[in-house]
Symmetry: C2
Subunit: 278 residues, 2 copies
């Protein structure tokens, strides 16, 4: 059996999230359906992150095992020919047998877009939270930095439902980067995958603020609850200096509300380089 890794971009607007569900259109469901038609096998597809309904992806990663002799590039072409235009396989590669999109992942990067323009662009309403009201950028930026490092994220976990990663009840997570970005100057400092996404979606700094967060794994709804908390900081209802105390409280009712799904995008998933053949 060969192991094929796919990098997938999608507009999540019209889908009920990544995870396969009976009788509902999901990204995983459509991919599995098309892969099964191509291979005539019962395909099991592992995704790196279970994005919620309405969440987008530029660099979701998934893998599946197959006896098919199709080359990775032919898999990508066949998938793109049969999938709707809102789901695109950006690349495909054959990887070592033990590569697993979720368990092998070293880090995931998400971004959350906030459209700050008075009148939101009709070309951006699917991809950015429109928030034209007063927000304190500096306070939000300082608060964002407080999420970096190793923390117990209970306060910022979903009130119900399981861990995004289905891992044990460990609620300690390590965030490598947590940053609010505005303006084209800061944009130049972005890493390659993000820059690619930004160019594919929009040019930031023209009315949009981008929150970028990178970590090994995330609790369910964690990024959207961090963003909801940052918005409360922007409104002056929470001070940046209160963030450490919020971690201490371990109380889900004390974070900001969960920010809407459509502003969120899974930008990229990193793996140890050696695990990829091609």
């Amino acid at each position: 059996m060969r192991n094929i890794k796919l990098t997938v971009a999608y507009d999540g607007t019209d889908y009920h999230g990544w995870q396969i569900q009976p009788d509902l259109p999901t990204i995983q469901g459509l991919l599995v359906d098309v892969l099964s038609r191509i291979t005539q096998e019962q395909v099991e597809l592992n995704g790196a992150g279970r994005t919620d309904a309405g969440v987008h992806a530029w660099g979701q990663v998934a893998n599946f095992h197959t006896a098919s002799g199709l080359s990775p590039i032919d898999f990508a072409r066949a998938l793109n020919a049969l999938l709707p235009p809102a789901i695109r396989v950006r690349s495909a590669a054959e990887v070592s047998p033990d590569f697993h999109a979720r368990w092998s992942a070293k880090a995931k990067t998400y971004r959350y877009s906030i459209d700050r323009s008075q009148v939101p662009s009709p070309f951006r309403f699917r991809y950015a939270l429109h928030h034209p009201y007063t927000l304190d950028f500096d306070a939000m930026s300082a608060a964002a930095k407080c999420f970096e490092g190793e923390h117990d994220f209970t306060t910022f976990a979903a009130s119900t439902g399981s861990d995004e990663d289905d891992r044990e009840r460990n609620v300690v997570r390590t965030i490598n980067r947590s940053e609010l970005i505005a303006g084209p100057a800061e944009c130049e400092a972005l890493e390659a995958a993000e820059a690619q996404l930004l160019s594919a979606q929009s040019y930031p700094g023209h009315g949009e603020w981008i929150y970028v967060v990178r970590g090994q794994s995330f609790l369910r709804n964690m990024v959207r609850r961090i963003v909801g908390t940052l918005l409360e900081v922007g409104r002056g209802r929470i001070q940046p200096t209160e963030i450490p105390a919020l971690f201490e409280l371990r109380d889900r009712s004390r974070s900001g509300p969960t920010a809407p799904a459509h502003g969120l995008c899974l930008v990229s998933v990193d793996y140890p380089g050696s695990e990829v053949f091609t």
Copy 2:
């Protein structure tokens, strides 16, 4: 009666074009419906350009007469509160009684986006024609320049249907600018309205070519037939040097095919400055 001018942006994907049609969702139809609810009057709305089904706009202009005492900014706010997010009123102003969005227009600027990347972005498929195959940029660029000036555009008119402007059967049009653009360097030379649009939609030069055309008025389907012809030039089926002869032929069957609607966007409409009060 007051005369109100609106500048409107829309994602045309889900609409049957600008012009009002019974039982079909159109941009003009939705605007008239909401304006009639706001004013309790039978509102007649004049649009500058009758964009086809699937065509987008960043700077469509429309005007209507009303006895309502609402301020322009309140009209904009009420409209945006009641319209779907795919249609946004970017600004509103009170103008002189004789201002007419179509007849007063001095020039219209359209752009047509061609996504040249191998795998099209799922965030751009609604707004750009995906064309990953070999195209001769220099030949297309030279051919684009041939459309500038005053010409008989019979060869590039729709085979059926009336003039976009409903003007008399005069098929002579004057194009002030006709240019193919690729890359961020050229982008900096764009005019303000276009730059604003580009930033709202995407950053050009990262896989997209943009055709920009500006003229006083256009025949029905004219821009899309010019683009279809430029694509034939890019494929080597028509030489740039043949364009003048195509004008001479005055034969609709000799142009390239009509390029798909979704790549087209009405960027801006220009008026003599004195006609605008605010």
